[in-house]
Structure formats: structure tokens, C-alpha cells
């Protein structure tokens, strides 16, 4: 189980990296954290001719806190984000989400942007990015900068709308305040990919739903998002009936893919459970005004 041969580049500027991508097209792959790419190489599921390592390019590991969004550069490791109290205060759902990604040794290398670009349908961060109206900043030497909305970014399993010559330099997450948010998932073991995961965001007005987002992972070929408008529940009290309605409507519409860990119908059932539990947790956090409490998968 050894990687096949490939050329290796470690450019020292973004321009140089972009040029390499444009020259090598589909034969080149970007190496950021490598936690998804290297296993695929070792299993020989990927056979790129060239790896372009971003590690020597300065200033790609920044977290910028803007007025209404935060920008996370492409070499920000998951563990770095986990330790950034400023980031976690701005995007509290990451407090729930990041610890669910693999294990400490994986998060010490893995990057947030890398997880988005890998577009594993079971990964947590794409679902969060989708719900937070993320914008992926893609650069290419020919086309300059392209801002791709998350809803246009994830096309299917391991498939994004990135062009072969494009490199994602950062992702911007919209920082609209939510009263209560949480990320819940059910996985076989701690640290495994989710069999179903849900990012839930809620803002209430006198007990009624003012804004709502439910974003699922592992329940289809890409993350799936619903808003209060899609679901037509704006202004409704978040009572048992509405929770049940939301669980039913969303889980019925999902089309999960069966695998060795669970049947499609099992994953749909999990999605419904996660909606019930996620809404209740988001609701209690909204009421407490504390969205920062950590919560586990179970």
C-alpha cells in the first residue's frame, strides 16, 4: 500500500502555484493537509502526475475576522481553528463540528478548505459551509479570482465546480448572528465519518421561528440545505408538531447512499432523529442565549 510515483512541486508564491496548475491541468493535485489525498494515493485510488504542495507559500494560514464574515485561508489546519477562540466565538457551531472530524493527529494536518475541496458527502464542514452561505475564493492564473457560493460549489461525491486550474485560497463564512446553533451526527465510532449529520441554526422571535437552517451531511451525494422559507415554517411556533413536521419533510426528501455502515432507509431515520434532537438543542441554546456550549454526537 504505497503511493504511485508523482512529481512534486513546492512553489513559494501563489502565482507560481497557479501557473503549475494551469500547465498541468487534470494531472496535478494540490497538497494542503493531505489527510484525504495521501490515503487515496496509498490505496492507489488517485494517480496524479504532479503534487503541488502549498506549504511554502507564505500567508495562507490566516483566519481573518471581517465585519460580517470570517475568512479562513487554505492552509488553516482544523486544530488551528479549534484553538482559535476568536473564530469559535464568531462561528460557534465550529465548536461542535471540529472535534468530530477524525482524530487529533488528523486535525493537526487536515485543513478546513481541503475538506471542502475534497467534497466527501459524509464530511461535516461542507454542510456547515453550505448553511453559512460560504463563499469559496478560487484563483487561477488565467481567470483571476472567482467567488463561488457554496450552493454552487458542491456538485456530487468528491466533485466540485472548481476548474482544474483553480486553487481555493480561502473560504468566507457569513457571520449572521444565530441565537442557537448546533452540529450533531451519528457515526459508528468517535471520529468516523458521519452516517448522518446535521448543522442546525435557529433564531426565534417570541418562541416562533424567525430564521432556520437545516444542513445535512452523509445523507445524499452532497450536503443538503433547507431554510425556513424552503420549509415554510417562518413564524410558526417551534412546538412538537412543527419539529415532527420538519423531521418528516426533510428526511423524506433526502436520498442517502447505502454503504457497509447503514442502509439508505437507516440514514433517513437518522436524519429525522437528528432534526428532532438538533432543533431541541438549538432551541435550548437559543433560549439560553448561549450557542457556545459544546455538545457531543450522542
Amino acid at each position: 500500500m504505497k503511493p504511485p510515483a508523482f512529481s512534486y512541486a513546492r512553489p513559494t508564491s501563489l502565482e507560481e502555484a497557479l501557473l503549475m496548475l494551469s500547465e498541468n491541468g487534470p494531472d496535478a493535485r494540490i497538497l494542503a493537509g493531505g489527510q484525504s489525498l495521501i490515503p487515496m494515493l496509498s490505496l492507489r485510488l488517485a494517480r496524479p502526475a504532479l503534487l503541488v504542495d502549498l506549504a511554502r507559500i507564505p500567508a495562507l494560514d490566516g483566519i481573518e475576522l471581517g465585519n460580517d464574515s470570517v475568512s479562513i485561508s487554505c492552509m488553516v489546519r482544523e486544530s488551528q481553528a479549534e484553538r482559535s477562540e476568536a473564530l469559535l466565538r464568531r462561528i460557534p457551531i465550529l465548536r461542535d463540528t471540529l472535534p468530530l472530524i477524525g482524530h487529533e493527529a488528523i486535525r493537526n494536518r487536515g485543513t478546513l478548505v481541503g475538506s471542502l475541496c475534497h467534497a466527501d458527502p459524509a464530511a461535516e464542514l461542507p454542510a456547515v459551509a453550505l448553511a453559512l452561505d460560504a463563499v469559496v475564493i478560487a484563483r487561477s492564473s488565467a481567470g483571476g479570482t472567482r467567488r463561488i457560493a457554496a450552493r454552487d460549489f458542491f456538485l456530487g461525491p468528491y466533485t466540485t465546480s472548481l476548474r482544474e486550474d483553480e486553487l481555493v485560497t480561502a473560504v468566507e463564512l457569513a457571520d449572521r448572528p444565530w441565537q442557537g446553533a448546533c452540529f450533531l451526527e451519528v457515526s459508528r465510532r468517535r471520529g468516523d465519518f458521519a452516517m448522518a449529520g446535521l448543522a442546525a441554526f435557529l433564531t426565534l422571535e417570541g418562541g416562533a421561528i424567525r430564521r432556520l437552517r437545516l444542513s445535512f451531511c452523509a445523507t445524499g451525494d452532497r450536503p443538503t440545505l433547507w431554510t425556513e422559507e424552503d420549509l415554510q415554517v417562518g413564524g410558526l411556533d417551534l412546538d412538537d408538531g412543527v419539529v415532527e413536521h420538519l423531521a418528516r419533510v426533510t428526511s423524506t426528501a433526502l436520498e442517502p447512499i447505502a454503504d457497509v455502515h447503514g442502509s439508505a432507509s437507516y440514514k433517513k431515520q437518522l436524519a429525522a432523529v437528528l432534526v428532532r434532537r438538533g432543533l431541541r438543542l438549538a432551541q435550548s441554546r437559543a433560549r439560553a442565549g448561549a450557542t457556545a456550549e459544546p455538545s457531543g454526537a450522542r
Partner: protein
């Protein structure tokens, strides 16, 4: 470290790698595709780091890079250029045992010993960052390190005993 870095290396080219391993400057060369684990084991003859799955799940190959535990099977040797690496051989000096190893010996923490290098690296990092962990924190720390022999209880006990030794020594 003075060295000349090229921007591009061919697939068969041996890339020069300079790094610090267990506090000692080391140099070697490896094709771009060679993993850090294989580089440590084959090129630097540090076979204490074990390969249990080569796809990043079992944790046996965990080493410290710049102070953080990482999977050496999920890192290329070329990525370790200029970094500081610590392996099981470097946890204590000269084949001696430090407090963590002593405690784990005392507690019969391991059986076959194959997962041991990764467990020790992970736990030594835990005890550095959290000198008084509780059992759940110990289990969290090693949740990505598989052991097939012990059922983990003896490993957890060893880590707790090591924490106690270390805090008693302070």
C-alpha cells in the same frame, strides 16, 4: 539550515531532506512519494515507528512534528523538510524510559507492543498539554489509536499513573 530548494522534483528524483529527529539534525533523501513513516524506518533506520494500516486509521505510525502528533503514513517525507520530528526512540534518551514509559511498564499497559509507538507519542503530547487529564480525556486522546490486544483499560491506567508520577515529581 542552508539548502537549495528547487520548485519542482521529478518522480524518480531523490529530494534532499534535512530535518531534526529526536533533537538531532538528520539528512537524507527520498523520492517525492515516499511517506515520512517509510523515510524514518528505511532511510533513518528508526524502526520504532510502526505501520499498521498505511491509510491513516490505526495510529501506530503517529510521530510528533513540530510538537504536534501526526500520522507519519499520511505525510510525505518531503513535507518534513525543515521540521522537528520526535519518534518513540526520542521520548527518553539512550534507550532509557521516561516517567510515561515507566508507568506503562508498571501497569502492564501493552501486550504485543505494535500500537505502542503511536500510543506513547499521543499520550506524551496529552500529558504535556494537560498534565492532569481525567480518564475521558485520556480516552479522547487515544481514540484514534487502535489496540487489538488490551481493550485499552491498561493503557488508560498507565497514562493516569504517568500523570500522577509527573505531578508528584513537580
Amino acid at each position: 539550515m542552508p539548502h537549495e530548494e528547487k520548485a519542482l522534483y521529478g518522480p524518480d528524483e531523490r529530494v534532499e531532506i534535512q530535518l531534526s529527529v529526536n533533537g538531532t539534525p538528520r539528512r537524507g533523501a527520498a523520492q517525492p512519494r515516499r511517506t515520512l513513516a517509510d523515510f524514518l524506518r528505511d532511510e533513518l533506520q528508526l524502526t520504532g515507528t510502526h505501520l499498521g494500516c498505511e491509510h491513516g486509521v490505526c495510529g501506530a505510525c503517529t510521530v510528533m512534528v513540530d510538537g504536534d502528533p501526526v500520522r507519519s503514513c499520511l505525510m510525505l517525507a518531503v513535507q518534513a523538510h525543515g521540521r522537528e520530528v520526535v519518534t518513540i526512540e526520542g521520548l527518553a534518551g539512550d534507550g532509557t524510559m521516561g516517567p510515561l514509559q515507566e508507568a506503562m511498564w508498571e501497569e502492564h499497559s501493552f501486550q504485543c507492543g505494535f500500537c505502542t509507538p503511536g500510543m506513547l507519542i499521543q499520550l506524551s503530547h496529552l500529558l504535556q498539554s494537560n498534565p492532569t487529564p481525567n480518564e475521558t480525556e485520556v480516552r479522547d486522546s487515544i481514540s484514534g489509536n487502535l489496540c487489538r490486544c488490551t481493550g485499552y483499560e491498561s493503557i488508560v491506567r498507565g497514562a493516569m499513573a504517568a500523570a500522577k508520577r509527573l505531578s508528584d515529581a513537580d
